[in-house]
């Protein structure tokens, strides 16, 4: 979900919009700390990359940290999508779901 949010947000993806994007689709509040923890792990694995923006007064003088998905991340995302689509295509319609 975080990777998809990053793709959707493009270059302006930092903690707040990523959390907002996920909350919008999930309908539940998301902890910013858990998003950063997950992004850190993805960064260590080379799936996302980050850069620091300019500090702003409303952020207490702290800079934004912008994330973007790397080429390796895009490749893995595409692979995951293929696998998921294949598995969903073979899945019979679930109860309560429209065919």
């Amino acid at each position: 979900m975080i990777l998809l949010a990053l793709v959707n947000l493009g270059d302006e993806a930092y903690g707040v919009p990523i959390a907002g994007e996920i909350e919008k689709h999930r309908g539940r509040e998301v902890s910013l700390g858990s998003i950063y923890a997950a992004l850190d792990r993805l960064e260590v694995r080379g799936i996302v990359a980050s850069r620091l923006g300019d500090p702003t007064p409303e952020r207490g003088g702290k800079a934004r940290r912008y994330f973007r998905i790397t080429d390796e991340g895009l490749r893995q995302l595409a692979d995951t999508r293929k696998v998921l689509e294949k598995m969903w295509s073979r899945m019979p319609a679930l109860k309560g779901e429209r065919a």
């Binding site: 903690g15 007064p57 952020r59 702290k62 800079a63 940290r65």
Partner: protein, 701 residues
């Protein structure tokens, strides 16, 4: 957008408790959301979740390290059992470790530290080998750092635990050391065993973490390789604001300086000898002690300052000369504190606190005040109304002083030094005004040099006073209770005893005879007479007038060249220079007493023992006239006032009566000697019990 302040503690949590160095982005995001209308409650929720999820993710990534550290530290009690066996066995008799005081303490501590570090470092090497095989190279610097850090964490953890034990469960846990077996200790889950595992767990985890866990890198796109200097070390990135002093490296500098000064004191500082005290010599000794402590402290600081691990290798916030001068003004107090601590003086905590306060005041005077931009105040008194009057430093000082007072009231002068020193340091640090501007460097150094000279001279005078009064106090203690009727020969004999019983006398063994009692002749019972005082039903009383034997294992009695002196054990502190010290008391009777006539022997003892640890007394009845000197063992009885539950600091001897039942049937029919063996618990067997035997009461059957 209107800026709202985050809840103070929650903000601190986000900035300091979230692992990794990426908390700035998170803190900024939270502040941005707060400014956008989120509530403080939401901020709190996010802060707690961030800390929890951050640590969970970090620990989850390092599960193998945690499990290894946990498993390895669970072996600690078994290791301790092996170590104790080794120490009591082969090493106790090894000539290498048989040194005179204080070298015996140094060698024992070194042995303990080295063996424990070998145990702790083993998993590092175990992890290093597979890592090298998989060609995942480990930084040599980090490996070295891990080894050093482990030693520090282990020692600090052990020391803190010991202090906590002393403060909250004086005189420490009752550990049945003699019944230890390494295999049984593997599954030992008693409190003391669990507590023992904690410093080992922290040390092993710290070592593994330092060598295995990669340091958090900055953002990928901003990670720029740091330039290398000609010597191969990476150049350090300077802080943006040079007026902000980097406090991260400060504890390391202070610890290295302090340890060096302490080591110099350990090697040099001695109280003056019992005889031949010359005032001029004392003055020179005090000067040397203070001077060497200051030099050693500066040397230790210089070592760390110039090491590759130091944060001050390039563009330090103040010059080394100045830092060395400022800190040396506190190292000069180390000899005073050392001498007072070694001689169990109640003034020791105050000397330590004085040194800590001096250190803090000196540092505060040298370190520039960080420039913190003030928030604009809109209305009159708004700032005063907004800023709460909370002084956590005052609270900390009050708690420390109260803890120190409580420890003093319990007679724990050394543990009281820690809170007192903390209070002194914080007080001096917070309430000394930092310099507003930096004057000419040469002028400042001259000023600091003058200050150091003044402080050093004061320290020399105090050291001199401690040496003179310490000498006088020790002389009084060794002389025992002054006797106005004592004769000149008695004084000479006591002086000889003092000389003999000083720790550095170097005697292989000592025989201590009680001082002769005037007009109280010993009345050994006549042979074959009932054990009753004539014409009464009272038990027969035999006042103890025999010798006390002090000798070291593996001997079984004092050597033929044993030094003989007069005195009572409650007035002397006799330590073994190596190995186990054995103490016995022997009461010789003029006649033989039939064993069948005696039902019970009650022994009255005077205990003035202030070292923790249970001491038991065992009694033997011997017939020394028969071949082979057959004996009957009457068992052993603990001295109740030495047991942990009844222990208290004693300024005067406590009298106690121990009862020993005599069997009616034994292979011995008569006895003419009573032997009392002093059996201290392991761990304090190097120190002779300060227990004197007063009399025996023999009850007829």
């Amino acid at each position: 957008m209107k800026r709202r302040a985050a809840p103070a503690f929650a903000g601190w949590m986000v900035e300091h408790l979230v692992p990794g160095d990426r908390s700035d982005g998170l803190a900024g995001d939270l502040l941005e959301q707060l400014a956008a209308g989120r509530t403080s409650r939401w901020y709190w929720r996010q802060a707690v979740a961030a800390v929890a999820s951050g640590w969970f993710a970090l620990l989850n990534d390092q599960r193998p390290l945690l499990i290894l550290a946990l498993l390895w530290s669970s072996l600690a009690p078994a290791w301790t059992a092996c170590f104790n066996r080794l120490q009591d066995g082969a090493l106790a008799y090894a000539e290498t470790w048989r040194m005179d005081t204080p070298w015996s303490s140094v060698s024992a501590f070194s042995l303990w530290m080295v063996l424990n570090l070998l145990f702790i470092w083993t998993p590092i090497f175990l992890c290093l080998i597979p890592n090298t095989w998989i060609s995942r190279s480990i930084s040599r610097r980090r490996f070295r750092l891990a080894l050093l850090l482990t030693a520090f964490v282990f020692f600090a953890g052990y020391f803190v635990e010991w202090v906590l034990f002393m403060v909250f469960s004086w005189p420490g846990p009752a550990i049945p050391g003699h019944s230890f077996t390494p295999t049984a200790e593997l599954t030992d889950v008693r409190t003391w065993a669990l507590m023992l595992r904690i410093p080992y767990f922290l040390s092993v985890l710290c070592a593994l973490w330092t060598t295995q866990v990669p340091t958090a890198a900055g953002p990928c796109e901003e990670a720029v390789p740091q330039p290398r200097s000609l010597t191969g070390h990476r150049e350090r990135v300077l802080p943006a604001d040079p007026s902000r002093f980097n406090l991260v490296g400060l504890p390391g500098l202070l610890v290295s300086g302090f340890v060096s000064a302490l080591f110099a004191c350990l090697l040099l500082c001695r109280m003056p000898g019992i005889h031949g005290v010359v005032n001029a010599k004392l003055v020179v000794e005090a000067l040397v002690y203070v001077g060497m402590a200051a030099l050693a402290g500066a040397g230790g600081t210089a070592l760390y300052w110039n090491s590759s691990d130091s944060p001050f290798t390039s563009n330090p916030p103040l010059s080394f000369d100045r830092f060395a001068l400022v800190t040396a003004a506190s190292w000069v107090w180390v000899p005073v504190a050392f001498l007072l601590v070694v001689h169990h003086s109640p003034a020791a905590p105050f000397a330590i606190a004085l040194g800590a306060a001096s250190l803090a005041a000196g540092l505060r005077g040298a370190i520039p005040e960080p420039i913190i931009p003030e928030a604009p105040v809109k209305g009159m008194f708004e700032g005063a109304l907004r800023t709460g009057c909370r002084d956590w430093n005052g609270l900390l000082i009050a708690v420390c002083v109260a803890t120190a007072a409580w420890a003093f009231s319990r007679g724990l002068s050394l543990p009281a030094a820690i809170p007192l020193a903390t209070a002194g340091f914080v007080f001096a640090w917070k309430y000394r005004i930092a310099p507003a501007d930096s004057a000419d460097n040469a002028q400042v150094i001259r000023r600091d040099l003058v200050k150091l000279c003044g402080t050093a001279m004061t320290a020399v005078l105090v050291t001199l006073a401690v040496m003179v009064f310490g000498f006088a106090g020790r002389g009084y203690r060794l002389a025992g209770v002054p006797d106005s009727k004592s004769t000149v020969p008695n004084q000479a004999r006591r002086a000889q005893a003092r000389q003999a019983l000083s720790k550095s006398s170097g005697y292989q063994s000592i025989i201590l005879w009680p001082l002769p009692q005037k007009n109280e002749p010993v009345s050994p019972p006549p042979e074959h007479e009932q054990l009753l005082v004539p014409d009464t039903a009272h038990p027969l009383i035999i006042r103890f007038d025999g010798p006390y034997w002090y000798f070291q294992s593996p001997h079984r009695q004092p050597s033929s060249k044993a030094h003989q002196a007069h005195g009572t054990p409650v007035d002397y502190r006799i330590e073994a220079s190596g190995g186990q010290l054995t103490m016995e008391a022997h009461q010789f009777l003029n006649g033989r007493i039939p064993l069948s006539d005696c039902r019970e022997i009650q022994m009255t003892v005077a205990n003035r023992n202030n070292a923790p640890g249970t001491i038991s007394l065992a009694m033997l009845l011997t017939n020394s006239e028969l071949r082979g000197k057959p004996a009957v063992y009457l068992g052993q009885q603990p001295v109740v006032s030495t047991e942990p539950a009844h222990f208290s600091f004693k300024s005067a001897p406590v009298t106690e009566v121990l009862r020993f039942s005599v069997p009616d049937k034994a292979r011995l029919r008569t006895f003419n000697e009573i032997t009392v063996m002093f059996l201290p618990e392991r761990g304090r067997s190097y120190l002779a019990p300060e227990i004197a035997i007063q009399q025996f009461a023999l009850f007829s059957r």
